[in-house]
């Protein structure tokens, strides 16, 4: 195409095209000028090893880096630790559906404890409002807004990470950034996660959350008690999830959602201890797990008391079965 003897016309034509092309290219790179070099991950963070491969000294260096990042970002001195699982402990959660009133205190106590992003909003616990007489989750509504709860025609089912014994989220992770700990908690190394969201898609309980944008928390709302595997600050583009508050529970305390529950519907403990509250619940109560048929073997159990409810409207007939859920004609 290039003419052997460049004429004035072809020089101008090619020159204008080249200048326009360079202009467009430079304009396309314009967002780079808005990049703040301070926000980029440090070389240290890039070279950090996987959680399971770090030596104690390397872990201490990583914790020191996280402390410095928290101090820089939120201006506070965080107490960041790497807390190991306890021997002879397997955590189990049990939730009494006869008692839950759907007040969502657990949801917001969890957010406050675990430093979830406030904007965009990330919450680990989703409280489903279900019509009485069904366990069909498709009829559940998490956007309910009554002046007071509980509503007489509904019951409430909080859903969070079930800490499965056979976790599909762990199986699909292409980089082994999420795994199951010896005490049954499925955890994430936020520095190893590549943000592919396979685990979010694999989870049948919608328990995993993705940081689509840079998490935003007011400095006064940050909980300075942090652990590497649970509530240290996350960055944009990584997954996060409920860890049964391992920075609390691995030190004998109760999860934040349980402490907040005003009705005592939540029970937590060590299933390997036959005298624990959860062991008694599994032995004596009518217990079920959500989506048993998908074979995830959750460590989160729902149970009932003998009667429900104990107040007015006790003898209401069950709600009619919706047409799409009825038996198809044969």
């Amino acid at each position: 195409m290039v003419e052997p003897d460049p004429s004035r016309r072809s020089f101008l034509r090619q020159g204008v095209t080249a200048v326009a092309g360079l202009t467009a290219f430079a304009a396309a790179l314009q967002p780079l000028t808005q990049l703040d070099l301070d926000d980029l991950p440090t070389l240290e963070a890039h070279l950090q090893k996987h959680y399971k491969e770090m030596s104690p000294a390397e872990m201490e260096a990583a914790l020191e880096r996280i402390r410095a990042e928290v101090a820089k970002r939120y201006g506070l001195e965080a107490h960041v630790r790497d807390i190991k699982p306890l021997d002879g402990v397997e955590f189990v959660y049990a939730l009494n559906l006869s008692r839950c009133v759907g007040c969502r205190l657990c949801v917001h106590a969890c957010v406050a404890e675990n430093n979830q992003s406030r904007d965009p909003e990330i919450q680990y616990i989703r409280v489903l409002e279900m019509p009485r007489g069904t366990l069909d989750i498709e009829q559940g509504n998490h956007l309910y807004d009554h002046p007071t709860v509980p509503d007489a025609a509904h019951f409430y089912m909080p859903v969070q990470c079930h800490q499965c014994s056979n976790p599909p989220c762990v199986k699909v992770c292409p980089v082994e950034a999420t795994w199951q700990e010896p005490d049954g908690l499925t955890v994430i190394d936020y520095d190893w996660c590549i943000g592919c969201r396979y685990c979010e898609a694999a989870c049948p309980y919608f328990a995993r959350r993705f940081n689509y944008a840079d998490p935003h928390i007011q400095p006064e709302d940050v909980n300075p008690e942090m652990a590497y595997l649970s509530n240290r600050p996350r960055s944009q583009g990584v997954m996060e999830k409920c860890t049964f508050c391992l920075h609390r529970t691995r030190q004998g305390r109760m999860p934040a959602c349980l402490e907040a529950c005003p009705v005592g519907a939540r029970k937590f403990g060590n299933i390997l201890d036959p005298e624990s509250e959860v062991a008694w619940i599994l032995r004596t109560k009518r217990v079920f797990v959500l989506k048993e048929d998908v074979g995830t073997l959750p460590r989160f159990f729902y149970y009932f008391d003998e009667r429900y409810p104990r107040e007015a409207g006790d003898d209401l007939p069950p709600p009619p079965v919706d047409a799409p859920h009825a038996e198809p004609p044969r």
């Binding site: 200048v19 304009a27 396309a28 909003e121 309910y144 709860v149 109760m254 907040a260 937590f268």
Partner: protein, 215 residues
């Protein structure tokens, strides 16, 4: 035809520099709510022990009055004293079913056994057997403190730390704000099939105040 290439490139440059940011997230921060409610608590705080009541401007213990004035065999309805009490406990509607006749600062079990006001589970167990059985095992009611005895002691809240014994049904609670409707259709979020151009048009139209169109 080839003269169009620089024009297209310059248009692209203009777009890169001046195009709005993409639709982004229909992000909504959590509505404000009373964070004091997150402090672990139940809807009820029982009166201190010993119970102190203000009568005619004086702080009085139960027996200060009840040692002097005899009580009626049957309760008077409506109550002329203790008018703050709402009695809604089913068929258990007699004061002296629970309160001891001889000592109003104690409860009375069957067989004339008197127990302290901090031992309410023993009293409630007289009727609520299965609930008491669950409570003893920590299955009913709230447990504060630690799940692991090696780290600290759990504390089981007693019956009257959650339930008002005079009307024990749980009061309704105001729910805290729900999640925002990220995945549900909402007015704030652009339509699912809207591209950046739709968003830009929508935004420029919204940015122009309506009166600018007049005249």
């Amino acid at each position: 035809m080839r003269a169009a290439i620089p024009v297209v490139l310059l248009l692209l440059a203009a777009w890169f520099l001046h195009a709005p940011e993409g639709p982004g997230l229909p992000s909504q921060p959590t509505p404000a709510f009373d964070h004091a409610r997150l402090v672990p608590s139940t809807p009820r705080t029982p009166m201190a022990d010993p119970r102190i009541m203000e009568v005619a401007g004086l702080d009085m213990r139960c027996n200060d009055c009840h040692d002097i004035f005899p009580s009626a065999e049957q309760p008077v309805a409506p109550l002329r004293q203790h008018t703050d009490i709402v009695l809604d406990h089913g068929m258990n509607d007699r004061c002296l079913n629970c309160h001891a006749r001889a000592d109003r600062e104690r409860y009375e079990l069957r067989g004339d056994v008197l127990i302290g006001l901090d031992e309410s589970p023993r009293l409630c167990a007289s009727c609520h057997g299965p609930t008491f059985r669950d409570w003893e095992r920590g299955i009913h009611g709230r447990t504060d403190g630690y799940w692991s005895a090696a780290h600290g002691q759990p504390r089981r809240l007693t019956c009257i730390e959650c339930h008002d014994p005079h009307s024990p049904a749980y009061p309704g609670l105001q729910p805290l704000p729900g999640p925002h409707a990220w995945r549900a259709p909402s007015e704030a979020a652009p339509a699912a099939d809207a591209g950046p151009l739709d968003f830009w048009l929508q935004r420029t139209q919204a940015a122009v105040p309506p009166e600018a169109h007049d005249g």
